[in-house]
Point group: C2
Amino acid sequence: MGSAKTEAFTQEENEVAKYAKALGHPARIAIIQYLIKKQSCICGDIVNELPLSQATVSQHLKELKTSGIIKGEIEGVKTCYCIDPEVWKKVQGKFNSIFDAFKPINCC
Amino acid sequence: MGSAKTEAFTQEENEVAKYAKALGHPARIAIIQYLIKKQSCICGDIVNELPLSQATVSQHLKELKTSGIIKGEIEGVKTCYCIDPEVWKKVQGKFNSIFDAFKPINCC
DNA sequence: GATATCTATCGTATTTTAGCGATATTTACA
DNA sequence: TGTAAATATCGCTAAAATACGATAGATATC
């Protein structure tokens, strides 16, 4: 049983975890940061930026796309990738509401 | 070759990914939220809160502890868990600097 | 139409994660 | 000292994640 018991948790818990998981790999962090840095849609060259094979990069892109964080549009031979602003804002909101909920206390 | 090529990425990328991965499971999100809600160190009863076996919960706690996000101190028979404020602030900072770096642009 | 280019997908090997029962281990208390 | 309670760890299984070569599909360009 190496699969998570998704049905046992709330929709919110599952959703936050989904986004966190999507960001839980250095290659995907690198992709996100590259997309941010470029300030535009990226057609192609993500593969050249990463120390991974084309197949592996494509797979990571797919995972980010599945989570909703990025979108990919086919433009001729190339595919144009960018962060989905709506989803990004949503993710940011969810994470921050968790971050901000924590008030340090005096114990251990 | 089923292991991540950690050495091929920057320390920063790896660290952010590490924290994201730690949060990338609904059970661990649930644990974090419970720790936040209780506003104190939790000795025990996390197991009763989650729809998972004691062994599995213990494993999730260990993962959160390994990432540094929570600390656990033994107090008698029980173990006292809480979020590490320092690390929490650090994680929050890292995530927010990524979140904030993104400026929506007009493209696809 | 042939060919080069870009990207996705398939197949496969390996590793890691998730889950749990069973079993230590540790401490409190009778 | 013996026993109960709380956790951690061991051992195992099943599934998912990571990585990559090979291949397929689509589209420019010659």
